[in-house]
């Protein structure tokens, strides 16, 4: 199949998908095509699609490609949908999540040491929202539960993968300047 034939199909699949589409999933649909070719078609398509600067764009989220509206149009979309902004995570939850994201896998005691505050309520909220998950148990006395971030975390914050997060060093420098 020519790249030019492949591209519109990939675009259509990303449109109908409920979750970010991973290149491996596309490979399954085109068993006759090489992975490299699919990747090339995907990248060309995404580039062309986004170059239109239309109301939709395709982004890399949680290891796949996802089509969403552009954030700059949110006021009009909200007006049309008659929707209010969704409930936000509290600062306490976000801080706990930040500790987990950067220090994973991490135990509750380790989170407490950094935040200087009990974090079980925040942890419960994050588990409930599936932003974090239990990734194992630490091989120390009491075998405490280890927490890590989930795919849902990447989707919630529009991240391609964890490496897209700024480094802790940047925040440390910022902290040094603030204090």
């Amino acid at each position: 199949m020519e790249l030019s034939d492949l591209q519109p199909i990939l675009e259509a699949i990303i449109y109908v998908a409920d979750e970010p589409v991973r290149p491996e999933q596309l490979k399954e649909i085109f068993p006759g095509e090489s992975f490299d070719k699919i990747e090339t078609a995907l990248q060309n398509m995404v580039q062309d699609f986004n170059a239109r600067a239309g109301g939709m764009w395709i982004r890399e989220v949680a290891g796949g490609y996802r089509m969403t509206t552009r954030p700059e149009h949110h006021e009009y979309i909200r007006e049309y949908l008659k929707s209010k902004p969704g409930a936000r995570l509290t600062m306490a939850s976000l801080e706990t999540l930040a500790v987990i994201a950067y220090r994973q896998p991490v135990t509750l005691a380790e989170i407490l040491a950094i935040r200087g505050k009990k974090s079980s309520t925040a942890l419960h909220t994050l588990l409930e929202k599936k932003l974090i998950s239990i990734v194992g148990r630490k091989h120390v006395v009491g075998r405490p539960i280890l927490y890590g971030t989930s795919k849902e975390f990447l989707m919630h914050f529009g991240l391609k993968d964890l490496s897209e997060l700024p480094t802790l060093e940047e925040f440390a420098q910022m902290a040094g300047a603030q204090l």
């Binding site: 109908v16 969403t68 902004p85 801080e95 505050k117 009990k118 914050f157 529009g158 997060l165 925040f171």
Partner: protein
Amino acid sequence: MEGKEDLNFESASSEMPGITIRLEAFEGPLDLLLHLIKREEVDIWDIPIARITEQYLEYLQLMKDLNINVAGEWLVMAATLIYIKSRMLLPPDPTTPAVEEVSEDPRTELVYQLLEHQKFKNAAQMLYTREEVENAVWNKPPVEILESEKDLVAVSLFDLLNAFNEVVRRFEEAQKSMALEQEEVSLEQKLAEIRRLLLVHDTILFSTFFSQSPSKRHLIVTFLALLELVRMREIWLYQKKAFDEIYITKGKLKAGTA
């Protein structure tokens, strides 16, 4: 801890719901300290520990006056501050040999803790901003793919009658060893009951559906109620393959809209 009784703080966790006000402005003792240090515009590496400790304790008193639930970690921090303050007042130990390195500033550990905390507060702020952007984008709502549209087999009336026949046969077998009170049930009652069940369960196995029926009349009314709900498209019946178990699941139409 000594100060605990003196100040009469509640030691219960601040995360426990109660009638006392929950502390939202400062999330924890480190947040309060950062606030005080920023407000006083002092150098983090040279914190005037006596002044900051005094202010910290004033806040604790204020929180107590406002009936705010003060968790244990606030008292631990108060104790730490008082300890650092006392260490700084002590003259250097004259017995310590002079060759030893200059003793460490008692504030250092706290400073690192504060910097670490500020670092993660900044990271949390970054997540907050990202969440805000993500809240401003929409993706297409999920396509509703009914399981029956995948590779499930639609149930014919004959399958249904067969299945029901099986239910009746099992019931009669069980009946031999059971003597149950006969209770009448109307079709309306049964319809309401099934709708309630489907609010809780997405899918129910046809055979287990009848397991609670106390009489043959019950079985028949239940069966008629199912047929009625299928007719009104409130429920779907499907099999994973022909002649397999029959499943009951919610249809596209909500109760009462048909």
